[in-house]
């Protein structure tokens, strides 16, 4: 809840969930069609409550909770994501004790083959999880492999928001893909990506992630073989269903993402424009040095001061060049990452809408059937579960995303400020060292004349 960030109020969501799990099994009077359907989504529908016990079994067991009425529950078919766990854990509040998986990306190296040149990174893992055969791993991966992992995660965990990767393509003329700065920027982004996956209560248990961290040779064709029942059951049928009413909270997410994308686009354009203006200013600045130098060549007393100014101008030129390069290499790519990321998030929202639409349509067909027989077809039941899981997963991931976004942008903008500060500090140092040079000469002149 707002205003309570920073505190990890673990019990509040728990209470909410237990309440929603144990609804009285009364049927409210049948009302409007839409109302009924809408109500079903957040668990107040009479029919849904019949099957409330079938929800959230694995997570409640994991969390060590027992339903107030004492009934143990059967594990349902869906090994869905542990939204409960999601609510209990926030990425950054995990302390060392609860974390059992540590991942780093380090040591970039260039590989040259006849076909291509590329960079690999060392991915180191330390873990106590039983899902892993060994407690430590060290493998080499290239960008392609990270990209493969992200695609797999998107496929196999469609109800979750998968963290972003640094941009795949870079303009060959503009940025040097093998420069130290570019590689370091990329390494940091890849490191952030893996850490976010490792800290995610659901994604970190994904077997593709496991393979990525541990397999000697990442045979990407393995992906198909690794598909379990879970993977199959999670393959939602999408398309064709019409959504009646998007819950306000998800509508708000969609609206926010649209506006946010707009702002990112504007900032990208502004940053590019600044870089362009600075580059053109740099061109002029570079001309100063030689002019002052040539002036000094036909002056006597003024020779040294003019040479000094010429040198200063050169220093300022270098400082500005560094600033524009840094902004191109560090700032713009991160903005673009987010724009791509938001595209994938919007797709997740669309899928959610589709899942809900499917459920609503099927439910509608059943609810308003003539015979009104209690046994509700199991596939409608499954749809309901899907909707609820999806919503819960998405809400939790959204919170996580908001937090990460705040961190990312705080870092990005602070970095931008830092670069500008460093630029001015370099110029300041150059000019400050010149002034005593100019003034000393004057004093010396005064003595001799």
């Amino acid at each position: 809840t707002e205003g309570e960030r920073g505190e990890c109020n673990l019990l509040a969501p728990l209470r909410t969930l237990t309440t929603s799990v144990c609804l009285p099994i009364d049927c409210p009077p049948s009302g409007e069609r839409n109302e009924a359907i809408a109500a079903s989504v957040d668990g107040r529908h009479p029919l849904s409550s019949l099957y409330c016990r079938k929800r959230r079994t694995s997570e409640t067991e994991q969390a060590g909770l027992i339903l107030p009425n004492g009934t143990p529950v059967d594990t349902s078919s869906l090994a869905s994501s542990s939204s409960l766990l999601n609510r209990l854990q926030l990425d950054d509040d995990l302390d060392g004790e609860t974390r059992d998986l540590f991942v780093t990306v380090e040591d970039p190296k260039k590989h040259v083959s006849t076909m291509e040149t590329y960079i690999t990174y060392r991915v180191c893992t330390k873990t106590t999880r039983t899902e892993f055969d060994l407690p430590e791993y060290s493998v080499r991966r290239r960008y392609q492999d990270f990209d493969w992992l992200r695609n797999k995660l998107e496929e196999s965990q469609p109800t979750h928001l998968i963290p972003p990767l640094p941009e795949k393509f870079v303009m060959k003329g503009v940025v040097d893909r093998f420069s130290e700065e570019f590689v370091e920027t990329r390494r940091k982004a890849l490191d952030k990506f893996l850490k976010r996956v490792a800290d995610h209560p659901v994604l970190s248990f994904n077997e593709h992630f496991n393979a990525f961290l541990s397999a000697k040779d990442l045979n990407k064709r393995q992906g198909l073989a690794l598909l379990t029942k879970m993977g199959e059951s999670v393959k939602y049928v999408t398309g064709g269903y019409k959504l009646r009413a998007r819950p306000a909270e998800f509508a708000a997410m969609g609206d926010y993402l649209d506006l946010f994308t707009q702002k990112m686009g504007t900032i990208d354009r502004i940053a590019q424009r600044i870089i362009k203006e600075q580059s053109e200013f740099l061109m002029e600045l570079r001309e100063y040095g030689p002019v002052y130098s040539s002036w000094s060549s036909f002056e006597e007393d003024l020779h040294d001061p003019l040479e000094g100014v010429s040198g200063c101008m050169s220093n300022c030129s270098s400082a500005l060049e560094e600033l524009t390069e840094d902004m191109s290499e560090d700032f713009l790519p991160v903005l673009r990452e987010y724009v791509l990321y938001i595209e994938s998030m919007k797709n997740v929202l669309k899928k959610r809408d589709q899942v809900q639409a499917e459920y609503e349509t099927k439910l509608e067909a059943v609810v308003f059937r003539e015979d009104k027989k209690p046994p509700v077809p199991s596939d409608v039941e499954k749809c309901q579960d899907r909707v609820e899981c999806f919503n819960a997963d998405l809400k939790a991931d959204w919170d996580r995303w908001e937090n990460n976004k705040r961190q990312d942008f705080r870092q990005l903008l602070t970095g931008m400020a830092d670069k500008n500060i460093q630029h001015y500090e370099k110029c300041l140092a150059a000019w400050e060292s010149l002034v005593p040079l100019l003034q000393d000469k004057q004093e010396a002149e005064g003595e001799t004349s």
Binding site: E2, R5, Y256, L259, F260, K263, T266, I267, I270, R273, I274, E277, Q278, E280, F281, M283, E284, L285, E287, Y288, V291, Y292, S294, W295, F298, D301, L302, P305, L306, V309, C312, R406, F409, R410, L413, T414, A417, D418, N420, I421, H423, Y424, E425, C427, L428, W431, E432, L434, V435, L438, Q439, K441, Q442, S449
Partner: protein
């Protein structure tokens, strides 16, 4: 008033006078002077450069409309020249200054008069007639208030430079320019300098070659050329750089707007973004002051751009003086030769007269006598002329060289000061930049 600083530095005037007195004394011994120089020496010895007696300023500028020479309506600007005796101010009584209005063309008239009357001096330049080396934000329009303001400062600077010059400051026409509103123009024309100006101009525009050019003056002229060229280049680069810098700063203002819009859709990040946006706006706005300061530096450079021209003019005028001397000497030599030929009857040089006399018969002895007499007179006159011109030339060289040395020291001092204040300005700009970005960084870190 007080918005822009004059490039003239009062302190330099004190420094400049001392060495000038010494060097003048040095050149004084055993050499003839022209009247004005003698007067100036006396005044300088008394230590009474005009600026020591009188406070001068160009306080204001105003628009006027009136009828011009061809009876057409015109709009022009006039400048208020204020003068006040130095003593009065120090006594603490603070009387109202004397003042009069002058327009730019009158300043031009004054300067032209000084150029003709003191051809051996490096006469301080006027601020530019038309705005040059402009960048897009700066107007090229003479009526633009910023241009008028910069011109006002430039004109004040001009008056201060003249008033502190050891020789120019005691000129009567200059004094009446400052003190007599009416009839000054007539007084100037009465000096007859225009006629001298016209003939000099004609001579200068004609191409002539000196047989034995003075090395020092040739070097000075070359220096003037190089200085003019390099300062022009510098001013051109500066104008382009100013344009670009303006763009860089102003685009950051867009961050201000987008951060504000973005903060509206954020919860926790909103405040930090919003305040950072304000700092971006402040950053964008700060460029106006920066470029105004830089304009001052450009004005200082421009003064020396035009000074370079004045220096070259002195060298050119020296060349003319020397050329005239050479011409007079050449003429004298040829006349002497003619006399010799006539006296001895030998024709050494080709002349049409010689040929015709051969063809149509010799002259009568009477005719020859008359010719000889005429030649003798001409030779006498010629020798006088050569003596005169020789003296002129020597005077010119002496006085010019004194002033050139004075100018060199002034230039070295002024330009060094200009570079120092430019560096200080850059330092201030960097510090402001660091402050703004630190403020923004603080806001970002609170996001």
């Amino acid at each position: 008033r007080g918005k822009r600083r004059s490039t003239y530095d009062r302190n330099t005037e004190e420094q400049m006078l001392e060495p000038t007195i010494c060097s003048l004394r040095g050149y004084c011994s055993g050499i003839e002077y022209c009247d004005s120089l003698d007067q100036n020496l006396q005044m300088v010895e008394k230590g009474t450069s005009l600026l020591k007696k009188m406070e001068i300023s160009v306080a204001e500028a105003e628009k006027r409309t009136g009828k011009n020479a061809v009876n057409m309506q015109e709009t022009y600007t006039v400048y208020l020249i204020e003068t006040r005796p130095v003593d009065a101010a120090s006594e603490g009584t603070n009387p109202v200054p004397d003042s009069l209005w002058r327009r730019y063309s009158e300043f031009e008239l004054l300067r032209n008069y000084l150029l003709v009357t003191y051809p051996f001096l490096v006469v301080p330049p006027l601020p530019e007639k038309r705005a040059e080396f402009v960048w897009h934000k700066l107007s090229a329009d003479n009526m633009d208030p910023d241009f008028v303001e910069r011109r006002r400062v430039g004109l004040e600077n001009f008056l201060l430079r003249v008033a502190s010059h050891p020789d120019l400051s005691s000129d009567k026409i200059f004094y009446s320019f400052l003190t007599e509103e009416n009839g000054w123009k007539e007084t100037v024309f009465e000096t007859g300098f225009q006629a001298k100006a016209d003939s000099r101009l004609k001579a200068l525009n004609a191409t002539f070659r000196v047989k034995n050019p003075d090395k020092r003056f040739a070097e000075m002229k070359h220096y003037g050329d190089e200085l003019q060229s390099v300062i022009s280049q510098l001013l051109r680069v500066r104008a382009r750089a100013a344009d670009r810098l303006y763009g860089v700063y102003k685009v950051h203002g867009n961050y201000g707007r987008v951060f504000s819009e973005w903060s509206a859709i954020e919860k926790e990040m909103g405040d930090g973004l919003q305040s950072a946006g304000h700092h971006m706006d402040a950053y964008a706005a700060s460029v106006d002051d920066i470029l105004e300061e830089e304009e001052h530096y450009a004005d200082q450079l421009k003064e020396y751009l035009f000074y370079a021209d004045a220096l070259r003019a002195v060298c050119r005028k020296h060349e003319l003086t020397q050329y005239e001397l050479e011409m007079a000497a050449q003429d004298l030599t040829s006349k002497k030769q003619q006399r010799e030929e006539l006296a001895t009857g030998t024709i050494r040089t080709f002349s049409l007269k010689g040929v015709t006399s051969k063809l149509f018969g010799q002259e009568t002895p009477e005719q020859r006598e008359a010719k000889l007499k005429m030649l003798e007179t001409q030779i006498e006159e010629g020798e006088e002329l050569v003596k005169e011109r020789n003296a002129e030339c020597e005077e010119f060289v002496k006085s010019a060289w004194v002033d050139i040395e004075r100018f060199k020291e002034q230039k070295d001092h002024d330009l060094r000061e200009a570079l120092i204040s430019y560096a200080i300005m850059q330092i201030s700009m960097c510090k402001k930049g660091i402050q703004v970005w630190n403020n923004a960084k603080e806001c970002f870190s609170k996001m």
